[in-house]
Symmetry: C2
Subunit: 108 residues, 2 copies
DNA sequence: ATAATTACTACGACAGATGAAGTAGTTTTT
DNA sequence: AAAAACTACTTCATCTGTCGTAGTAATTAT
């Protein structure tokens, strides 16, 4: 299980990735992150929902409701063009980050 | 220039790496990190020195003085066996982290 | 009826990073 | 000779993002 300190700074990116092929909502995104990471990373609920607030405030996602006649009302999220641009930037940054950190990694 | 939020969780690892082949001190470590990362990551002074405190408190490094007759007195640091063990753990964790994050990266 | 699952929200605590500023000595430039 | 730059740290207050705990509210399973 990966510590969140390590992944800090990429939680937002993971969420945006999950919104690339269409709208989704908290619980579903949470499940999908867990699944995609093969249980190696589980984003805490509080982390997830506070990330939504931040992402929306920054204009990277927007939220809306769908009229559902079942269950508790869900808040759906959709990635914005700015969100996509941000996602791309983070992907590029990630390449550099990997290169840099790898210089400090030695298999002993 | 990589943001520290991204690298957070690996600052300690970078410092330990710098101590693998012998004792060093703050300013030198700082310069070496900057150089090794090809100016792509510059650790802030406050980050560096607060990392020393944490690492020493955790028993991963220890500090001492050398009697120098010149300049301002330096605090030297040396990696401990526990520090080496911790470093190895972080290196292994890093492999997993890379794999996980890479699943969320898409070149568009 | 009750437990489990789904889908959030609120709140306070904490660790690590940061900016700003200061101390103190040495070397280089003007 | 004075000023600036470099070396080598220290203190302090603040910010951001994550986390623990807890609670609300509806639906589905036992």
């Amino acid at each position: 299980m990966i510590s969140s300190d390590v992944i800090r700074g990429y939680n937002d990116t993971m969420i945006l990735y999950m919104l690339l092929d269409g709208e989704s909502y908290g619980y579903e995104i949470s499940k999908n992150i867990r699944k995609l990471s093969e249980e190696k990373y589980i984003m805490k609920e509080t982390t997830l929902y506070s990330a939504f607030t931040r992402l929306e405030k920054n204009g990277y996602i927007d939220s809306f409701y769908l009229d559902e006649t079942f269950g508790k009302r869900r808040t759906y999220y959709r990635i914005t063009p700015q969100g996509l641009a941000y996602y791309r930037t983070k992907c590029e940054e990630w390449q550099v980050t990997q290169e840099v950190i790898n210089k400090f990694i030695k298999e002993l």
